[in-house]
């Protein structure tokens, strides 16, 4: 059973990766932009988490503007700060246009990342980036809807968390639009975000 789920997840990831490659290869694939695509419908969905801006951030509160969302944790020495920095540089490059979308960093480590800790951590990055976290159940539910993988791995005196490093791009209706790969070229990222904001 677990094995089947794993195989299905990887198949979906492979399919997704293929779609992203095609979508960015310059070959026009009209069906990839179609919101009727079952694949697109399969990623994303309702969620509600505590926000570093106070109150909650949810699929409903984000409605009306596209958003970028990714999963991580502050005990991550490399990928998470680098992704946050890369995103901060891209937001700067976008200038005022950056306001036309939202950026959400979801901590999948509620045991160590309180909202206060997230707020402090994010103070080192672009203020557009909203920090969010919630109960283990709320996070597991969101990750499942986003087909994101995260797993806590215990070691002799603590734990690490393996997690999907991609940034998800969602349109103004909360539907899946595409992904940003880890350390993708900033020019490509800027172009993708502009396309997302243009609703293309």
């Amino acid at each position: 059973m677990l094995r089947t789920i794993r195989i299905c997840t990887w198949a979906l990831v492979a399919l997704l990766a293929g779609a992203v490659v095609l979508a960015t290869s310059g070959v026009r694939m009209p069906w990839l932009g179609s919101h009727e695509l079952p694949l697109a419908a399969a990623i994303g969905g309702p969620f509600e988490l505590a926000s570093t801006n106070g109150g909650t951030v949810s699929s409903s509160s984000l409605k009306g503007k596209p958003f970028a969302v990714f999963f991580g944790y502050t005990f991550c020495p490399d990928v998470c700060p680098t992704t946050l920095l890369d995103l901060s540089l891209v937001i700067k490059q976008l200038g005022p246009a950056a306001d036309q979308m939202n950026y959400v960093f979801v901590s999948v480590d509620p045991g160590r990342d309180s909202i206060e800790q997230l707020k402090l951590y994010l103070s080192s990055f672009d203020p557009h980036i909203i920090g969010a976290t919630g109960s283990e159940a709320a996070l597991a539910d969101m990750a499942r809807k986003y087909r994101a993988i995260y797993e806590k791995v215990a070691n002799k005196d603590g734990y690490t968390i393996n997690h999907t490093a991609s940034v998800y791009l969602m349109d103004a209706d909360g539907r899946f639009h595409g992904t940003l790969g880890y350390q993708e070229k900033p020019d490509v990222v800027v172009a993708k975000l502009k396309r997302l904001m243009a609703g293309a």
Partner: protein
């Protein structure tokens, strides 16, 4: 390949230089190399990165060469500004970042040079007592099974610094 990212980073680094800090990793003189008492283990280019506010962890990067005739094993270390130091391995598989401590340490074969770098082997500094700022030089030790303990100084580079020769995906 000079991407906008590296340009941005170079620009940021240049700005830091103006402000009295360091410039990109490949361009500066670095912390003194370290060698074990028996001369078999040598450590060069030891560096770390500035951390975001409130960060509890940082990565440590370096190159280790075993010029001895026996395999040796990096089994641990210390850092004055961290509660503990672990040897970790990171990998990226199909977009999933995986990190695990190497509880038995890492073997360095005779004649081998192993580079610890972002995205691969790294030292995990855990329980930082203070944020790492660009230009800091945190000091510590690395302990090898055969060669014993070496004093190592890490150059703190700007956040997002990548080793020389790194290119974006």
């Amino acid at each position: 390949m000079m991407t906008t990212g590296t340009k941005l980073r170079s620009a940021a680094a240049a700005m830091t230089l103006v402000l009295g800090g360091a410039v990109g990793w490949s361009a500066i003189g670095h912390a003194a190399d370290a060698a074990s008492a028996d001369g078999t283990i040598k450590i060069v280019e030891s560096w770390t990165r500035a951390t975001p506010a409130g960060a509890q962890v940082a990565g440590g990067y370096l190159k280790i060469t075993n010029s001895g005739s026996q395999p040796d094993r990096l089994i641990g270390g210390t850092l004055t500004i961290a509660g503990k130091v672990e040897v970790h391995e990171m990998s990226m598989t199909d977009g999933v970042m995986k990190m695990r401590p190497l509880e038995q340490g890492l073997e360095i074969k005779p004649g081998e040079t192993v580079e610890f770098k972002p995205g691969g082997y790294h030292l995990m500094f855990i329980g930082l007592t203070a944020p790492v700022k660009t230009g800091d030089k945190p000091q510590g030790t690395l302990v090898f099974q055969r060669a014993g303990s070496l004093d190592v100084t890490f150059d703190a580079m700007a956040m997002g610094t990548m080793p020389a020769g790194h290119t974006h995906n």
